[in-house]
Symmetry: none
Subunit: 200 residues, 4 copies
DNA sequence: TATGAATGAGTTTTCATTCAT
DNA sequence: AATGAATGAAAACTCATTCAT
């Protein structure tokens, strides 16, 4: 008779997360501007109507996907930055390797750019995204500061270097369009060496 | 009579170029997937119908905008690469400075990303864009090879380094959304130093 | 055992009445054409699915609400009309006062209008409503006839006067939208005097 | 080549008015809550898309229909009220007769009630409608004051009497649902006599 | 050529009804 | 019985393209 309210809530949350993940893939395939609710529904293997059971509108889905992506990214970099078992360069290596490996990051990066540069997106969301991006530079910045202290990373303003590092990785990520890859090898070690302090 | 036909052709060509420039800005503002013919018309200060006097379809406008942008970029980098009055690092400095300065590059970079990553864009165009992008790495690659030869630029596969250089600049460009800039300073010298060979 | 079945039936009937009352308010708030099953469920503090446990369809709810309303109205006017302790004008006064006082009458009157004037409502229901309305004029008409006989109510076809009386009260009721009242005083005595015979 | 801008504006305005008139009829047939843009388009003999060329949304159409209706009603009553060739009772007779004769008034009255009593309609519009309704009582009120001055109309607060008069006519109008009329004769003279001062 | 209204195919969104739990 | 998520048919709305002026 009665339902387990707690369990219902949990399931609802899980299904929402599932849709968000599928939405990210759908968006990655068609672009923010072109993705249809139909695509998100198909990718999630649910009906079009059901998407609206979990989200108010298409815009609402987009907003949530971005939020989730930025949160996960923050946790990802923060965990690596605070790992005391790795040295600074290894931390950058790890971030670089995992980031460039994950297929979904490509989709997420494209979405992030689209949202920020798209005038039809509500200003408040664009602002939030920009602020979170800035805040998410901190863990990288911390790694660089640490590396500079022990002489393994190049001199320079840590925040600026973090900004270059992230922009480079994002720039490279965007080039990896499935089916339309630039036929140039990406070598993590080569990237890390750009930021490493040469020692003698 | 023949004179007037010539003149008409010229005017037609000029108006087409004008529309293409305006279309670039319209696309940058709303994204490839969301831009409407109405937006392009408004930006160009002409009517919707008139756009169709100069272009066969929305897709046709898109194709032309991308072609024009990539051609101009090629000429820009080629000219700098072949300039014998500048040393290698100065050439990279020049490309970096001018690129990050030009407002229209932001629009163009976004457009490029949008076209390549958007599944609704015709495959042929996406393929062409990818190929031209790859080909456009050559002038940068040449500068790097030159710099490595005279010991001013870091060692490493020139094409890969060129790819990193371009990706970094594009990555930074994408962050510079008008009104939503990341509040971190971008210092050309800092970027160049990532690629410079440290000498003693 | 038989006792429980009886009790179950009784409870079912009571819950149906509860839903009908709540449905009336939901309809009054949003209009017949706009009200959703969800609204009726919310107002009744039960789930959407439960509404279907008690009623076959949305149309079925509607039909029942109207029937209930008209039946109650008939009983209300009939009781007053047949009350031998009141004189004719007092009867009209009583009807007028109670009708304009009851909040639920506003909802019911709006519902009645909506149903009759809404093409999407099944013709049979609209017809039934019209017929019952006409039949419900009788008690008022009887009061007027009685009043004319004893010289307290104006001359004229009783049924027509009853029609005017009811229309006037309904017209006034419709103006009393909660929160959007017309800022003009409604004075029962003033209304009654329109129908009273002036004596000297 | 160039278009007559003035003429274009004029035509646009006329077509808008045409759609509004047709929309009123469509609304009258199906009710505010049930009318579809399709219905309005069909009634106007244009395509669905074209309705959106002239109006932002379905809501916008409704808003404009109400505004137009109330404006026309104001002009109609004001003209009669200010006509010095008619006596007070004749003025009321004229309003009553014309109002009850016009088929479109039925639709308009239903719409007016729907908008005011519909919670889904934006509060600002409901407020505006209520205020205009109140203001539109003035011409009737003026007629009644005039009639009381020359002894042809019953004593009582003119604004209240005007409110009763209008409510009665609106109440009667609402009963005249095409196809579902109450089979009771409506006699303008009988209505007027409710408000007339009996003289000896 | 220039214009912008008209069109209709395609999307987004809503909601009565069903159904698994 | 009770619940509320799932569904899909239908309604609202958008927009590339056409076309009369």
């Amino acid at each position: 008779m009665a339902r387990n309210i707690e369990k219902d809530k949990q399931m609802r949350w899980e299904r929402k997360q599932h849709i968000l993940e599928c939405a990210l893939h759908a968006i990655a395939k068609k672009g923010v501007g072109s993705v249809e609710i139909k695509d998100i529904a198909r990718e999630s293997k649910i009906s079009v109507g059901s998407v609206y059971t979990y989200f108010k509108s298409k815009d609402d889905v987009l907003k949530e996907v971005v939020r989730k992506g930025q949160e996960e990214y923050r946790i990802f970099t923060k965990n690596i930055a605070e790992n005391s078992d790795m040295n600074s360069l290894d931390k950058l290596r790890e971030i670089c390797t995992i980031w460039l490996d994950l297929k979904s990051n490509w989709a997420y990066t494209i979405l992030l750019q689209s949202v920020r540069s798209n005038e039809t997106v509500h200003g408040e969301l664009r602002d939030t995204v920009t602020k979170r991006f800035t805040r998410n530079l901190e863990p990288i910045s911390a790694i660089i500061r640490e590396g500079q202290a022990n002489g393994t990373i190049k001199d320079g303003a840590p925040l600026e270097l973090a900004f270059y590092f992230v922009s480079l990785i994002q720039g490279l990520t965007l080039q990896r369009v499935p089916g339309y890859e630039i036929p140039v090898n990406i070598d993590v070690e080569g990237i890390i060496q750009l930021f490493a302090q040469k020692t003698y």
